[in-house]
């Protein structure tokens, strides 16, 4: 049996690479079949299995099972499959193919036993996800620019991670991917590299900048993998790193505030990803067994309900061609299936009892209580109310209710409706039978989410948060605006600075640039003179001169020979 075991991520990557080459009628089979095969393989791998590769003097382990890794890999494979079902009719082959390579490498990360193969999968993810955004260039003229900015942020994160790994390996001699402490140059950079992908400050803007520019299905894929792989890497690499509590808390409130200011429905949900990942990062910072279980369970549930919310928003985008709250509203009348599923996703993200959010996010707040951190607990409870505010009500309210926009589009095609129903079913199933998820968590868990106290207090919290929303609705009037973020520095300041210099001060900068150019040109000319095509060392010599010189050498050798006698 063990000979049949392959790294599950590679199966999905193979599927992605196969997709462009198969006949259209087999495409559906591959799009659903390969994620299913991957999912099966994730559960066939046992702790005894391993697959090692030799690289330089290191042994890479690309089949290293951890219980947290298996939870992440499971939900990644599920998302790839259900996402593919959602994408089946409208997505370009490039998008689906890139999404599978992207998902496969995310699963690859969850099965990595060493930092080098982790880095390799990390970078394939960056390329795959960029291509997913890129695949939408023909529909959305902003997609190209967004995909390049996205790639640049991730390449920067990758370089930081690479430097960190190199320094760490040079320091310790070990490439093993295991719990570290951010106390050396290498490990600090590894931590930063992970955090860039998690959407931590100052690089939080890339999520809302890039994800909503992809196609309806592309955004569903994108929302699932990159940030959650980063959560996994933090969970395995830096559990209990106190700084993560502060970083995560910033992300939690950043997500809420920016989502409240936002007008574009899918950007609202993108900011909400930062908010949710913030919860997980805080839990990883707390670092207790309950907290790490909470982060893992929350990641699992989050991927499903955020995927559902983005499927709902994607259906609206597909059917109306509109993405701004100011243009939408009243869609519940003609898109009931999309609205119902969107609302189920919204209830799940808000952690309403009987949904997956309720049984998973409460592990994290309980962990803060158990660890005796009152301020963390009070902030997380406030943030839970805030989640209801910005994602739980704001998204469905402005898209499906609000004013009547007069739009009467029908529900999307059957494959999209089916994907949404499956996701909704999962959200509620996990909420009703939490043991499904509790049973596969990294640590044994004895937790009862459905106590009368918990249900009542959660309902009170959410209902009064909802009351705040409607009482202050005039404050939330949508405007045709975006909000400035840290990306202003590289999109406006740096860009503007360069064009300003280029246009306005040729008299100061001109000579400097000219002298640099002259300096370079001088050295290039010299190199060319010596090594160039007709240079001293490289030009072709007539064979006659060679014969002459050989004769001279022979004569010299002969003379020396006689002189020796």
């Amino acid at each position: 049996m063990s000979s049949l075991i392959l790294p599950p991520g590679l199966i999905l990557i193979l599927g992605g690479l196969l997709l462009p080459w198969v006949a259209p009628r087999f495409k559906n089979v591959i799009a659903i079949g390969f994620p299913l095969l991957t999912l099966i393989m994730v559960w066939l791998v046992t702790a005894e299995h391993s697959m090692t590769l030799n690289f330089l003097e290191y042994q890479l382990d690309i089949l290293h099972l951890t219980s947290a890794g298996r939870v992440f890999a499971t939900v990644f494979a599920m998302m790839a499959g259900i996402g593919a079902l959602y994408a089946l009719k409208h997505a370009r082959t490039l998008e689906l193919s890139a999404a599978f390579v992207y998902a496969g490498s995310a699963i690859g990360v969850t099965f990595c036993g060493d930092l080098i193969s982790l880095f390799v999968f990390w970078e394939i993810m960056a390329i795959g996800s960029t291509l997913v955004i890129w695949a939408n260039c023909h529909q959305n003229k902003r997609a190209y620019g967004a995909s390049i900015r996205y790639l640049l942020v991730h390449l920067l994160g990758g370089v930081i991670l690479m430097i960190g790994i190199a320094a760490h390996v040079a320091n310790t001699g070990s490439i093993e991917f295991t719990a570290m402490k951010a106390d050396s140059f290498g490990t600090i950079l590894i931590l930063i590299g992970f955090l860039v992908n998690a959407g931590a400050p100052p690089f939080s803007a890339w999520i809302a900048d890039a994800y909503p520019e992809a196609s309806p299905s592309g955004t569903v894929f994108l929302s699932a993998f990159t940030t959650k792989t980063a959560v996994f890497a933090l969970l395995m690499g830096f559990p209990g790193e106190t700084i993560l509590i502060y970083v995560g808390m910033y992300m939690v409130f950043y997500g809420i505030i920016y989502a409240l200011l936002e007008n574009d429905m899918r950007r609202i949900l993108a900011y909400s990803i930062v908010n949710q990942v913030g919860f997980m990062v805080v839990a990883i910072g707390i670092g207790s067994e309950l907290a790490l279980n909470g982060a893992t369970a929350h990641a699992f549930a989050h991927i499903i309900y955020k995927g559902l919310l983005l499927m709902s928003a994607g259906s609206v985008l597909l059917m109306t061609g509109k993405r701004k709250c100011t243009d939408l509203g009243g869609l519940f009348q003609s898109m009931p299936v999309t609205a119902i599923n969107g609302i189920i996703g919204a209830l799940a993200i808000s952690a309403v009892p009987l949904t997956s959010g309720f049984v998973t996010k409460s592990l994290e707040t309980s962990a803060a209580a158990e660890a005796g951190m009152p301020w963390v607990w009070f902030c997380l409870v406030a943030a839970s109310a805030g989640v209801f505010l910005h994602a739980g009500i704001k998204f469905p309210w402005f898209v499906f209710f609000q004013k009547d926009s007069g739009l009467r589009p029908p529900d999307p095609p059957w494959n999209m409706r089916a994907a949404m129903w499956i996701m909704s079913f999962l959200c509620i199933l996990i909420g009703i039978v939490p043991s499904i998820i509790y049973g596969i968590l990294p640590y044994a868990l004895d937790y009862q989410p459905y106590t009368a106290d918990h249900v009542v207090t959660q309902l009170q919290l959410l209902l009064f948060a909802g009351f705040a929303f409607f009482a202050l609705l005039t404050f939330m009037k949508r405007t045709l605006t975006i909000s400035l973020d840290f990306d202003w520095f590289y999109r406006k300041l740096m860009f503007g600075g360069i064009s300003w210099v280029k246009e306005h001060s040729p008299k100061f900068v001109g000579p400097v640039i000219l002298s640099i150019k002259y300096f370079g040109q001088k050295h290039l000319d010299r190199l060319k003179h010596v090594h160039g095509p007709q240079g001293i060392l490289a030009r072709t010599w007539p064979s006659a001169s060679m014969v002459l010189w050989v004769a001279v050498l022979l004569a010299a050798a002969m003379i020396l020979h006689y002189m020796q006698l």
Binding site: R142, G145, F253, I256, I257, L260, L261, N263, D264, K324, G330, Q333, S334, A369, G372, P374, W377, F378, V381, A382, A385, G386, F388, L389, F401, K403, D404, A452, D453, V456, T457, Q458, L459, Q460, L461, L462, L463, F464, A465, G466, F467, A468, F469, F470, A471, L472, F475, M476, T479, L480, T481, I482, S483, L484, D485, R491, K492, F495, G496, S499
Partner: protein, 106 residues
């Protein structure tokens, strides 16, 4: 289908002005219902050891949820005055290089 036809002629009942009051009444009704358990329930205190008892006080979750959310909405509104820009703010940037290239090619 009948609903479709009626919505063409008339607004859906959710949007009719005369129903707005009813909707608010329903909301207040639900809020009061949610507060009823406070009379006979005692909440679990999570931070006895730290000397914090606030979370076990009656109606804590209700007012805390309302006030923190109100604070976030107002906070976002205030930040919005500084942070908000027209949503084509960055587009001018993106268009510039193309425009220039076109000019050059001419």
């Amino acid at each position: 289908m009948s609903q479709d036809n009626s919505s063409k002629n008339q607004k859906h009942w959710l949007y009719r002005e005369e129903n707005r009051k009813t909707l608010w009444k329903i909301q207040f009704g639900i809020l009061i219902l949610a507060l009823l358990p406070e009379f006979f329930m005692h909440h679990h205190a999570s931070f006895e050891a730290q000397g914090v008892h606030l979370d076990a006080s009656p109606t804590f979750y209700a007012w805390y949820g309302f006030l923190t959310c109100a604070a976030m909405v107002v906070g976002a509104k205030l930040l919005g005055f500084i942070l908000k820009r027209n949503d084509d703010y960055y587009d001018e940037n993106d268009k510039d290089p193309d425009a220039k290239n076109n000019e050059q090619s001419r």
